[in-house]
């Protein structure tokens, strides 16, 4: 491969690495096995509106993708996502499709990592 084609390829690889937004979380510990598409949680959207501490202290979300065993019943009962997604602060749980919007077969975890693809255990 020549020098020029190498540079062009580097550019195209850079383009190809674009995808999930930094900090996007896939929640599929239960969703698909219970008949719903995976949930895509966008950190960027939520941090514009809330400090980290609101969810990661007040609501009790552990700071580790995959370690929060959230059930739909919890959410309906006002825990975790349901503390806001209750038709008061944010849309309620009747809007299934807005959270359960992921492609089939996605694995739980955090996405959109930079060149390191994020820490190994994630």
């Amino acid at each position: 491969m020549g020098r020029w084609s190498g540079i062009a390829l580097a550019g195209l690889l850079l383009a190809g690495s674009a995808g999930a937004e930094y900090g996007d979380v896939v929640l599929n510990r239960r969703a698909e096995s219970e008949g719903m598409p995976p949930v895509i949680f966008p950190h960027w959207f939520h941090r514009i509106r809330f400090r980290c501490k609101v969810c990661h202290l007040e609501l009790g979300f552990e700071m580790r993708a995959g370690s929060n065993d959230v059930t739909m019943q919890d959410i309906i009962d006002g825990k975790f996502c349901g503390a806001c997604h209750n038709d008061e602060i944010a849309w309620g749980t009747e809007n299934c499709d807005l959270c359960h919007s992921g492609r089939p077969g996605l694995e739980t975890g955090i996405r959109g990592g930079h060149a390191t693809k994020g820490p190994g255990v994630w």
């Binding site: 540079i7 550019g11 509106r49 809330f50 609101v54 992921g102």
Partner: protein
């Protein structure tokens, strides 16, 4: 084989390829193309697009391409500090110098930028003991998602940004 004009064309194509890559990578990918959202999902078109929100925030070359600290400091965003309460954040303005960094410059940890987002209890005593020198932090653990790696590399600026943390040169003897 080595006709000069061929080099010119190849260089031109290479430059276009590189520019195209840089241009695309510098923008926010639409949800329908992010390889996460189902393009058929009714949510597409209802959910806010990253570009719509993030392009209006102070720029940064890494992560979400947003300088999230500047966004708060300049008042561009005012994220809530509580679900219902509006109590102020517990801001701490000091710096912690981590000297045990091998050949790399020392790390200057700013409490302020962290306490703009997090409460003391998010990190202490769960992940960090509140005593300088008491935390056996190293890059291997951070790359495995421990200590700073809980957030950096996932939601806070990535671990490729070495010099943002390793910012204090060691004095030569």
């Amino acid at each position: 084989m080595s006709k000069p004009w061929r080099h010119g064309i190849r260089a031109g194509v290479a430059a276009l390829g590189l520019l195209a890559g840089v241009a695309v990578a510098g923008y926010w990918v639409p949800l329908v193309k992010d390889n996460l959202h189902d393009p058929e999902s009714p949510a597409i078109g209802v959910l806010q697009e990253p570009a719509e929100a993030l392009s209006k925030l102070p720029p940064d070359p890494a992560g979400n391409q947003v300088d999230w600290i500047k966004a708060i400091e300049d008042g561009v965003i005012q994220p809530r500090t509580g679900l219902h309460s509006r109590e102020p954040m517990r801001i701490r303005d000091d710096f912690i110098l981590l000297e045990n960094t091998g050949e790399m410059p020392m790390v200057r940890f700013p409490h302020r930028s962290h306490t703009l987002w997090l409460d003391c209890k998010n990190c202490h005593e769960k992940y960090f003991v509140s005593r300088a020198g008491a935390n056996p932090i190293n890059m291997y653990k951070i790359l495995q998602g421990e200590y700073c790696g809980r957030c950096h590399g996932a939601v806070a600026f990535p671990l490729t940004e070495c010099k943002r943390c390793h910012s204090v040169p060691r004095k030569k003897d």
